[in-house]
């Protein structure tokens, strides 16, 4: 347990300190959100209607962009070999690293989402549900990205490949994430069913994804 916590603290610190990994993800998110109205035109009604979708798509892309870092640096400098040989099961290591990605990158992305929502004219009333849905859904984003990151360890063009592998897996998160927000925009549907499904998706991926990631890491280290 202590070892896992130490690893978590180390990963979060590393993500914040070296090379502005988090800053790049946040900047990318901002760029995506800024460029969309430029492509669609400044119609505030239209923007308000599609804001949840754009905010979610931007979040997924920003999460994907930073996902390569979950395992790559440790793979390259050999830390992953040490961790694999260490006392912690590799699936726990993988899970902790994904959790660190969520804490260091996922949460900041969720926190700036309300600011970006202002740019897109999302109705104020739906901002809390947006935040709630994103908090519930982003663990799945980080853990699924972890699968892609572990499968593409050490490959050329791994970033693009990672996106191709993981984006189909994001379909449920995107759909339920957006439908948790849209009721406040379009109609009187309840927030709770999609929100609970999002929680279920996150919990399931927190349990299952580390197993897949561990298998993939072991395969890459072999």
């Amino acid at each position: 347990m202590n070892a896992a916590l130490a690893l978590l603290a180390r990963d979060v610190k590393l993500a914040w300190r070296e090379g502005g990994a988090v800053g790049v993800a946040l900047g990318f998110y901002l760029v995506v959100i800024v460029i969309t109205p430029l492509g669609l035109g400044p119609d505030l009604n239209l923007l308000g209607r599609i804001a949840p979708g754009i905010l979610w798509v931007g979040l997924l892309l920003a999460g994907l962009l930073s996902a390569g870092r979950i395992f790559d640096n440790d793979y390259e400098d050999g830390t992953l070999d040490v961790l694999a040989a260490g006392p912690l099961p590799l699936s726990v290591v993988a899970g902790v690293k994904c959790l660190a990605h969520w804490l260091a990158t996922g949460i900041p992305l969720v926190l700036i989402a309300p600011l970006l929502a202002l740019l897109l004219n999302l109705p104020m009333g739906s901002v809390p549900s947006l935040m709630l849905a994103m908090l519930a859904g982003t663990p799945a984003v980080s853990f699924l990205a972890g699968i892609g990151a572990s499968l593409t360890l050490g490959l050329r063009r791994s970033g693009l490949l990672l996106a191709l592998l993981v984006v189909p897996l994001y379909v449920p998160v995107l759909i339920f994430g957006v439908s948790a927000v849209t009721p406040y925009v379009t109609g009187p549907n309840s927030l709770w069913p999609p929100f609970l499904i999002l929680c279920a998706l996150s919990l399931a991926s927190m349990v299952l994804a580390p197993l897949a990631s561990a298998a993939a890491i072991r395969n890459a280290l072999r």
């Binding site: 490959l155 592998l165 189909p168 759909i175 298998a215 890459a220």
Partner: protein, 245 residues
């Protein structure tokens, strides 16, 4: 299964089976085409376009069948380390992807006269599109990893992750579709199909399945030979290295 683990014996079996299987494919597809063009009556609602169904539905079935084959072979790779499992999975992917593509194109060609547009974000078409993306990801992963063993295991892991996700994706796409589209335009659930249309459909489905098996066996044979060539080239290189040393 154990005797089939030997690729040489597998190749012998394939050579024996292929002529019969080819004949079966020709007969089934010939009968199916005849039935679907000359025997099946036009549908009272959809008219002659219902004939597209006879290739669209089998192609969609093979799209899912192909992924099932890959998922089972992935288990074979990861659990039993069956030497042919990776060959089976790797060669099934392009075939499955092709039939997924065929299902998408024929669905869209069916949709134009029926819905008035080539593409609608219909739940089934959308799920099929996501399945196509999963196939592309698998193929890309196989091509990106140089070492065959690692590529096979990585693709197997991804295939299993995808297999777990497919029902969830299907469920979410259905949810999304009912949320955004009134169901009136689309046929929800299975429409009642006239028995006169059912027989050609089954014959075509059987023919397509046999075609898939045929193509898969042929591709597996070629892949086994390719791996032999590689192994031989490898020994050649090593021998040269030894000779220089």
């Amino acid at each position: 299964m154990i005797s089939l683990a030997n690729p040489t014996r597998f190749l012998g079996l394939v050579d024996k089976v292929l002529p019969w299987l080819s004949a079966l494919v020709v007969i089934l597809l010939g009968t199916g085409l005849y039935l679907s063009f000359f025997v099946a009556p036009p549908d009272y609602q959809q008219g002659e376009t219902v004939r597209i169904m006879f290739i669209h539905v089998p192609a969609a079935w093979l799209a899912m069948f192909g992924y099932t084959v890959i998922a089972i072979a992935a288990l074979g790779t990861l659990i039993w380390r069956h030497p042919l499992a990776d060959v089976a999975a790797k060669t099934a992917a392009p075939i499955g992807a092709t039939f997924t593509f065929v299902a998408l194109v024929t669905g869209s060609l069916w949709g134009k006269p029926m819905w008035g547009t080539y593409w609608v974000w219909d739940a089934r078409l959308t799920s099929m599109l996501v399945l196509f993306l999963l196939y592309l990801g698998l193929i890309a992963l196989w091509q990106s990893i140089d070492e065959l063993g690692r590529a096979g295991r990585a693709a197997a892991i991804l295939a299993l992750v995808g297999a777990i996700n497919i029902p969830i994706i299907k469920f979410s796409v259905d949810w999304w579709n009912t949320l955004h589209q009134p169901a009136s335009v689309f046929r929800t659930g299975g429409p009642t199909i006239d028995p006169a249309l059912l027989t050609p459909l089954f014959v075509m489905a059987a023919g397509f399945t046999a075609l898939f098996v045929l193509l898969h066996l042929m591709a597996m044979r070629a892949e086994i030979l390719r791996r032999r060539v590689r192994a031989l080239q490898q020994t050649q290189v090593e021998r040269a290295a030894l000779a220089e040393a």
